[in-house]
């Protein structure tokens, strides 16, 4: 697997460079948002920023059709899928770390204006990360079962249907409440572990589904 990680880094390094202006802009906006607003909640932009990082780390195959070449290398399909999951997970952690770092930076820059990250704020950041993880684990099988651009279309349709279903009041109503639900659950340790355990199980299910689908793909 190690050569695959090195290859992923060497190839996405330039892509990250290209995406960096956009990421830097969102980060700047988060800092501005933190400094000018008295509010304690994590700026909504962090949500998008994390999502953007995940797109970059997994979507190397989208912009340039390299999947055929990758499959012709002496690696198994399972290794290719595991690398993508690892990269996405790293993207997620990086997003979380960035969000907290920015909150700290804003506090350091203008101590008077931005409060230090409170435990409640940390819990929100982790909850946000878990919502992202849930979205990610739901999304990746689509990108592995179909080729990237068609996979995104399929996922966006599914996401919109899920959002519509929840908006119409069936069970959870909307991603917003998923976030609030996670926030509440994370408050006490026992349910928090249950939630994280559940998410990990969902992740493993997603990984095996992707591996099964990717093995059947033709390039």
């Amino acid at each position: 697997m190690r050569p695959l990680i090195r290859m992923a880094w060497a190839t996405s390094r330039r892509l990250l460079l290209l995406m960096s202006p956009l990421l830097a802009f969102y980060l700047a906006l988060m800092v501005v948002h933190q400094v000018t607003k008295r509010g304690t909640d994590i700026p909504a932009i962090a949500f998008t920023c994390m999502f953007m990082l995940i797109i970059v780390s997994t979507f190397q195959g989208l912009t340039f059709d390299v999947e055929g070449f990758m499959a012709s290398l002496p690696v198994t399909r399972a290794q290719l899928v595991r690398t993508k999951y690892l990269l996405s997970f790293l993207g997620l952690l990086a997003g979380l770390a960035l969000t907290l770092a920015v909150a700290g930076l804003a506090h350091a820059l203008a101590p008077g204006r931005a409060a230090a990250p409170t435990p409640e704020e940390l819990r929100s950041a982790v909850a946000l990360a878990l919502v992202d993880a849930f979205g990610l684990f739901a999304f990746l099988p689509f990108v592995h079962a179909f080729e990237p651009s068609r996979g995104i279309l399929a996922f966006s349709l599914a996401a919109i249907l899920a959002l519509a279903a929840s908006l119409a009041g069936w069970g959870l109503d909307g991603a917003a409440d998923l976030f609030r639900f996670f926030q509440r659950v994370l408050a006490q340790p026992a349910p928090a572990l249950g939630l994280i355990g559940g998410l990990l199980a969902f992740g493993l299910l997603s990984l095996s589904l992707s591996t099964w689908a990717y093995a059947r793909r033709s390039f």
């Binding site: 949500f47 340039f64 995104i152």
Partner: protein, 211 residues
């Protein structure tokens, strides 16, 4: 000619518009989580960043997939392609601002369980969108059309460093903003002038480029 080119873009690129709109949807979700007061402003902020980039995304996809040559080999002039990109940004921004309004209005009505009066964009928000359109589209576009991806990175990169430095140094823009808001007509003329200047520069740079 513009109509055929616009129809060509919509028929070939509707797929690539889904990803930005998906991100807009995610942003919409984020804004809904924000508290009551800032919903419309938050949404305009979000829309005005993403939507002016749609023509850039289309043009970038056209050059990344190598089909820009097919476009330029048609009996269309380079000027027609530049006109297309500038017309598209107005088409997309206008169209999607209306969509954003409708989305917020539906959300509020659903949340309030009864239809509420539509809150119309105030003059400040209109000018705000105009300023963002200039900075986020008109400024980088000539660089992008003239030098491709390198131009795009320079364009947006310089823009971001400007914003970060403004934030870091906590310069107070309010005085400048209030002054310009006071004279909306002059402000609108300045914005229109900058938009046209950007068009002329794009024309010059794009016409001499090799493909």
């Amino acid at each position: 000619m513009l109509l055929e080119l616009l129809r060509r873009d919509l028929r070939l690129h509707w797929g690539s518009l889904v990803v930005p709109i998906l991100i807009l949807g995610m942003g919409l979700g984020a804004v809904v989580m924000a508290d009551e007061g800032t919903r419309l402003t938050g949404l305009i902020l979000e829309t005005s960043f993403l939507i002016p980039m749609l023509p850039v995304i289309i043009h970038q996809r056209e050059s990344a997939k190598g089909t820009l040559g097919d476009l330029l080999v048609l009996p269309v002039s380079r000027a027609a392609v530049v006109r297309l990109r500038y017309a598209e940004v107005l088409f997309f921004t206008g169209g999607l601002l209306l969509l954003a309004h409708a989305a917020v209005w539906v959300e509020l009505s659903v949340a309030a369980r009864h239809p509420i009066p539509m809150s119309v964009m105030s003059r400040d928000q209109f000018l705000g969108v105009g300023v963002l359109l200039i900075f986020w589209f008109a400024y980088p576009m000539p660089l992008f059309l003239g030098w491709g991806m390198k131009g795009l990175v320079v364009g947006y990169g310089s823009l971001i460093t400007l914003v970060v430095t403004l934030a870091m140094t906590e310069t107070d823009l309010h005085r400048f903003i209030d002054a310009s808001m006071a004279r909306p007509v002059a402000m609108a003329l300045v914005l229109a002038g900058l938009f046209t200047l950007s068009y002329l520069l794009s024309l010059k740079f794009f016409s001499r480029r090799d493909f």
